[in-house]
């Protein structure tokens, strides 16, 4: 029985307001406790009583996270020994991911595995739904076309949601890529296509992320986060246009089936 939803803020920028997301969740799910926490790793390490153990875990994490980096998105990640400088950089940001420069690409499932191992012992239970917001980009390997694909969210225990993924993972309009191939500066293109995709530090981010959090909740409760209705917030959007439609423009928030499930959740908890 779900007792608490924990939202972790690894972004800490005004464009992502977890309080607004939390308020929204309350209107949808009723009395389930929602707690907004600091950056996930920071929070988990702060719960370790021994200082010596904290240092040890931070060191270990920095190695494991460095190992998660995908160097070539067209090749399945292989086991590699990261350079000490890479490990040092991961260590530098281990307690403050929000300060970490964006640009690395990580294997999302590996990240979830690493994160699941540091969740405080008393919260390793389906009573808790852990949702991590990060600005780091991650992806998953696709056996069909043998390459990694960037993702906005990867659902699991915990779920990870990326603000960078929201910009980079769903495809922008086709014309954007054609013009980019023609050598037009991306900054110029961003101006031309403004509004047609979610950009970095986009003021619409919070509103869009509300839908992804509900997807995470559905995954946690039922194992299925998605809906086939393009106008439902649970739609698994692959294009920016679809994201904007499902999360911002649609005449209704949820299809009738999922609306009913949400009402049931609200009455049960």
């Amino acid at each position: 029985m779900l007792k608490k939803i924990c939202l972790y803020n690894g972004v800490k920028k005004d464009f992502l307001n977890l309080h607004k997301i939390s308020d929204y969740l309350r209107t949808k799910i009723g009395k389930i406790k929602i707690e907004i926490r600091d950056d996930f790793i920071n929070y988990c390490i702060s719960k370790i009583p021994s200082e010596k153990e904290k240092v040890k875990i931070a060191e270990n994490l920095s190695i494991k996270i460095a190992q998660c980096r995908i160097i070539n998105p067209n090749k399945r990640k292989i086991e590699r020994t990261p350079h000490q400088l890479e490990i040092n950089l991961e260590k530098k940001y281990i307690l403050n991911w929000s300060q970490k420069p964006v640009g690395n690409f990580y294997d999302g499932f590996d990240l979830i595995l690493i994160f699941s191992n540091i969740i405080p012992q008393e919260e390793i239970s389906l009573d808790f739904c852990h949702i991590i917001f990060t600005n780091q980009l991650f992806g998953t390997w696709d056996e069909k076309d043998l390459r990694y694909h960037a993702r906005v969210a990867i659902f699991g225990f915990p779920t990870i949601i990326s603000t960078t993924g929201l910009v980079e993972a769903p495809a922008k309009p086709r014309e954007f890529y054609i013009k980019k191939q023609m050598g037009i500066d991306p900054l110029v293109l961003k101006e031309e296509f403004r509004g047609k995709f979610i950009d970095y530090e986009d003021p619409r981010t919070t509103e869009v992320m509300k839908g992804y959090v509900i997807q995470a909740l559905f995954f946690h409760l039922f194992g299925d986060p998605f809906c086939s209705d393009k106008n439902c917030r649970l739609y698994n959007a692959h294009w920016q246009e679809e994201v904007i439609n499902a999360q911002l423009k649609s005449e209704y928030e949820f299809c009738s089936k999922h609306e009913k499930i949400l009402t049931k959740i609200k009455s049960q908890f």
Partner: protein
């Protein structure tokens, strides 16, 4: 018609003597330096300039007969270079006019920017050996990089069967790899099993510049890596034709070198 000559009367042998004598004098002086930089592109020039300004003895090795690398040309053979904020401050410091064409994006004339950077590096006191290729590294106690082995660039272009020109070694306290995507110096360490390079990733202009600066550093005792070589070593995303990271990475590399030299 007047018999008066415009130029002074100097014979061929005096000209040759002047070239050989002065080159040999400088070369002898620089067989040992504080820092040898391999690669005379924007990051290498910037690192050299910063170190020389602090009074360090710096030698830049360049395989071509010209300095500046790709900094003369922006991309696709068009000689406008782009710089993203905050690197335009360096252009201003060099006295290169630049124009902000969109928020945070500046454009300057490649020849103007490149020539000013070269001139400023020369003014700072950096010395150069051109048409000279990096051949190998010198490793001393505990495998510390302690210098480089070089040879004339044309030697590499000739078939081995007809050339037998041994290279020579130069010593230095620090070596900086500024050889671009080739990362020649780091790859020599890799050949010996002392480090592993990853090869650069896919292009992500928005983000790659920040990471280049972030990962600029000492990758092996005595070896600092700057510029696009950083991308190759750590598998970072490729950059587009923007040069801000090259300049700032060079600057950061110089700061790290200075720290090491002052120990």
């Amino acid at each position: 018609m007047s018999n008066k000559k415009i130029f002074s009367l100097v014979g061929e042998k005096e000209v040759t003597k002047a070239i050989v004598g002065e080159f040999a004098k400088q070369f002898t002086e620089y067989v040992e330096s504080d820092c040898i930089i391999i690669g005379g592109g924007p990051s290498g020039l910037m690192a050299g300039r910063e170190l020389a300004k602090k009074g360090y003895k710096v030698l830049i090795i360049e395989r071509n007969n010209y300095l500046g690398g790709g900094f003369w040309i922006g991309g696709y053979l068009m000689n406008k270079i782009t710089i993203r904020e905050p690197a335009q401050e360096i252009l201003k410091e060099l006295g290169v006019p630049c124009e902000e064409i969109s928020k945070g994006l500046y454009v300057a004339d490649g020849p103007h920017a490149c020539s000013k950077l070269i001139a400023s590096t020369c003014d700072a006191g950096v010395k150069f050996v051109t048409m000279t290729s990096f051949d190998d590294i010198i490793l001393k106690e505990k495998n510390k990089v302690s210098g480089v082995v070089i040879n004339w660039t044309p030697v590499q272009a000739l078939p081995r069967e007809i050339t037998c020109v041994d290279p020579i070694g130069l010593e230095s306290k620090i070596v900086i790899d500024a050889t671009g995507h080739d990362a020649f110096v780091a790859r020599k360490l890799e050949e010996r099993g002392l480090m592993k390079t990853q090869g650069f990733g896919a292009m992500w202009v928005d983000r790659s510049e920040d990471l280049i600066i972030e990962y600029t550093g000492e990758v092996h005792p005595g070896l600092i890596v700057i510029g696009m070589a950083v991308s190759t070593i750590f598998g970072l995303p490729r950059m587009g034709p923007t040069f801000g990271a090259m300049l700032l990475s060079g600057k950061k590399g110089a700061e790290i070198a200075e720290k090491n030299l002052s120990i």
